[in-house]
Amino acid sequence: MTTATSGWHADRALLDRYLRGEAGGALGSSVEAHLLRCETCRRRMQHLVDPAPLDLVWARLEDSLQSPRPRLLERLVRRVGVSDEDALLLAAAPSLRAGWLWGTAVALVFAALAAAEGGPHGASFFLVVAPLVPVAGVAVSYGPDIDEAFEPTLAAPYPSSRLLLLRALATLLTSIPLAALGGLLLPSHGWSDWSAATWLLPAVAGVTLTLAGATWVGTTRAGAAVAVAWLFVVAATSASPGTTAGPASLLAAAALPVYAAVTVAAAVVFQARSGRLALMGRNA
């Protein structure tokens, strides 16, 4: 501080050099040490610094402090290429929270264990229950009974149908692996390897039907109606005297085109009526 200070304070020229990074190692360190204990020089330097970059740094610091670490699922969906914005929209969905996913996993494990004790019919029991898992997930992914902040969400310009589809897709992608893992617990009773996955088609058909039904009665009621209808069909098939395979016949190759047709028809209905979701508030 002996060569370039006025008295005990750094002068303008020295502060300018310091700010430009041209003060050199020893002199720069001296100025820095002086600034730490000299309020007058700190104030003088404030007027020499462009506040914009500092504001930006402060804003980023605030961002990192105010944005808590995203949850595991949110981090995972970002990893697979989902944008930060879509990941945030998914994080608000009840069906994608840890509690729901754990509940789903536990229910499937119990279903699989029960199926393991029940012989061939037990296995088919699991395979007809498994499609209901994604249906239930979609039923609790969106709607006035589900979303805590539903009305302001509805009043925002973001398309309701896109939000529902985004969450339905994410629910499918999380519940299907869980159900598939449950399927691995099943004993082999004459099922071929691929047939343990045949429940996927009725699952997709059920989800699409739920989406189509949601345009009339909302997701929760539509999901419940689809579940009841499916269980009714299962019960009727089991009780039918002409059917020896029981519920397994619902997953036979002959039934699969029916699910494909239902899926396509429900998708068409959803596409045609999805605009109605934009006005489906509470008691609307």
Partner: protein
């Protein structure tokens, strides 16, 4: 001479039915920029009206126009929503979200796609409602008033041209309410602000215009000053309740404040408030229904 302000809200014969119940019954209204207060007892139709203005509920009959657009048309409804802020009467928050994260979530739904500018806006509205320092805290750990302010912050995103607020001051302490009045009166310079409330003092302090709704119909529509003027000469102090007064209560001074259609000739008349005029307007039957809603304020 100032130019007439453009109509931003127009209702022509708007009716809304829930089954056989008419929540709104043939309402005609127009609004421009400024702050309008909606008063009325519980079940009067205020929330139904606000939900229509917020585009989440369609009229059963009649015509509704918002910001010069027709919300019955999907494309125009989306356009209205781009200029709309809405705070419902009751509102929850996604589990585990902080105030910042929640307002950020709502900003995404309001099409703020650029992360930096969105976060700047989130900080701005949190600052407006006095929650900037608490924005990192999880909402479930905040008080009811703080959560209400977080809910209000999302409605303020983007300085909406139409701001629809259902009981915005519920749960706020007097200091917070005063601060909020400043925010809303500033918003009313450029925007149409419609708020429903049971707090008549908020209406008196904030609103240029007041609309009193009861039984799904508009019972009063005019300036706050004109509403108060309807009660002039009909509010008086006495040492005991006056028989025949529509409402009477003991004040903090020990004397009784009486509100009624005709004051005794020797009555000590006092300057009426919005609340006095509101009670007189709705009459005895409505007063009985409204007791639960306004009783605490009356007693105070």
């Amino acid at each position: 001479m100032t130019a007439p302000r453009a109509t931003t809200v127009a209702l022509i014969g708007v009716t809304r039915r829930y089954g056989s119940v008419r929540a709104l019954d043939g309402v005609d209204l127009t609004m421009t920029t400024g702050v309008t207060g909606l008063l009325g007892p519980n079940g009067a139709g205020k929330t139904t009206l606000l939900r229509m203005l917020a585009t989440v509920l369609a009229p059963s009959d009649g015509q509704l126009g918002l910001l010069g657009l027709d919300p019955a048309d999907p494309g125009q409804r989306t356009e209205v929503r781009r200029s709309l802020g809405y705070l419902p009467q009751e509102m929850g928050f996604p589990s585990g979200f902080s105030a910042f994260r929640f307002v950020d979530y709502m900003a995404v739904l309001k099409e703020w796609t650029d992360r930096d500018s969105r976060h700047d806006e989130v900080r701005r509205v949190l600052d407006l409602v006095g929650l900037r320092d608490l924005s990192a805290k999880r909402l479930r750990t905040l008080s009811g008033g703080q959560r209400r302010r977080a809910a209000l912050a999302q409605a303020l995103i983007g300085d909406p041209r139409l701001l629809v607020l259902d009981e915005p001051t519920t749960g706020l302490d007097p200091e917070q309410r005063a601060a909020l009045r400043g925010v809303l009166s500033a918003a009313g310079h450029e925007s149409t602000v419609v708020l429903a409330t049971h707090q008549t003092e908020d209406v008196a302090a904030l609103c240029e215009r007041v609309i009193v709704v009861d039984g799904g119909r508009v019972h009063w529509d005019g300036t706050v000053r004109d509403l108060v003027a309807t009660a002039r000469g009909k509010v008086w102090l006495a040492d005991a309740p006056t028989p025949g007064a529509q409402a009477s209560w003991r004040t903090g001074t020990g004397r009784h404040r009486n509100v009624g259609a005709s004051a005794p000739s020797d009555a000590e008349l006092v300057e009426p408030t919005v609340e006095d005029a509101y009670l007189l307007l709705l009459g005895a039957a409505a007063l009985h229904r409204a007791k639960g809603a306004v009783g605490s304020e009356v007693a105070a």
